[in-house]
Symmetry: C2
Subunit: 241 residues, 2 copies
């Protein structure tokens, strides 16, 4: 599976440039010119390595060895930067999906690709505004075409695609929120155990379902559960035919 975009793997060599001897040491100016692409790329590196809160213009200027104004010359504001970063990740996923001739299978591939990408870049889940955001459009389009191929009646296609996309975005948002919390320490199982503990702390009379389901919560696989939800919606869509 190659859901990682080339742009994400390309490492820029701007941090240390010890080889340049003609350059005065104190100025440490980068060799390659600034560009929106390079800025977004660096932003993704920071977001992936240190989380959402670590992405500041000061952190960016340090890593890019430039001034704040330089960044603003290429990017309107922080929001545009975050959107562009998320779009990059989404675009890489959608480009990597291979279109099987089986629509349901392709939908699963899109969904899992997005799941894995957001698992690797949880901050993407927090960037879901449908404004300049082309990522959302791409997801919608990718899913929608498969819905058409599935033979869903035209009148129901919009709602069907919307259901799938909203479900995917819901999981994405949860992943982002979880990552924000988990950032401060332990592994996944420890985290789930803590949530399950909190659930079972409550009165079983008031929260019977939480109690019954807590053991499953403890050792479920997020990815499997995500896919089960996709299948559930696909099963629902199948009843429309």
């Amino acid at each position: 599976m190659l859901f990682q975009a080339p742009i994400l793997e390309r490492r820029s060599s701007h941090v240390k440039l010890g080889g340049v001897t003609t350059r005065a040491r104190r100025s440490e100016r980068r060799t390659d010119a600034l560009s929106k692409e390079r800025i977004v790329e660096t932003a993704i590196e920071i977001l992936d390595a240190e989380g959402e809160n670590a992405l500041t213009f000061r952190a960016l200027t340090t890593r890019l060895a430039t001034g704040a104004g330089a960044i603003y010359w290429h990017v309107a504001n922080k929001n545009e930067l975050l959107t562009a970063a998320a779009d990059d990740v989404i675009a890489a996923v959608m480009a990597g999906v291979v279109d099987t001739s089986e629509p349901e299978e392709t939908i699963r591939a899109i969904a899992l690709g997005l799941f894995d990408a957001i698992d690797a870049h949880p901050w993407v889940g927090a960037q879901l505004a449908p404004e300049p955001w082309t990522g959302l459009l791409q997801i919608f389009e990718g899913v929608g075409v498969q819905i058409q191929a599935l033979g869903v009646p035209p009148a129901a296609q919009f709602n069907s695609a919307s259901a799938l996309v909203n479900y995917i975005l819901g999981v994405a948002g949860q992943n982002a929120a979880n990552a924000r919390v988990e950032m401060g320490g332990g592994d996944r199982t420890a985290f789930l155990a803590k949530v399950a503990d909190r659930w079972t702390e409550r009165d079983p009379v008031d929260y019977p379902f939480a109690h019954q389901v807590a053991p499953q919560l403890r050792d479920h696989d997020d990815r499997e559960q995500f896919l089960a939800g996709i299948d559930l919606i696909l099963a629902g869509i199948a009843t429309l035919r």
Copy 2:
């Protein structure tokens, strides 16, 4: 439909207290004591009236006629404040849902209640972290019990409830994101028209589904579409029996 909590309607009378003549005018101290409840209540007022960005500790201290330290005595930090505010809204919805003897109907009532609440308080959609957050547990429990009543096999109950909840959260997140964008002006139809325009700007060859569906996007009803998604998932769950 009474999905509005009592706490949300109770207007506190702290802004102007002209009747108090013994109080020195310049100090304008509030009459009632500070409490976490009152702070959360005021936070909700600000969030509803002016949006997420308007909720600052300075805005709070002004409205509550107090100092920053006073708020921190009752509330650990801003995140706890936001979580408490969201929990209040969710709790009000869940308390207002009447349990019909028909599980699918009750699930629809929960879902619509949450939809309406988040429509009225879009900032809630951005507070979905499953950490101290009891709101998420309440939703999960409310939905889960109905899933049990529906006769879904125990092994599939966790995934079924999870699918519904994640779908609801996805829509909630979208609503929050939309509200953030819409804050700066126009009505709902103007907003949808703008999104639809953006969709149809693209090449129809690359985005056939977006083009086909743009007219529906233009005049669809969010609430209806949301419910259609719930029904789709319920139809999928029905196939499990």
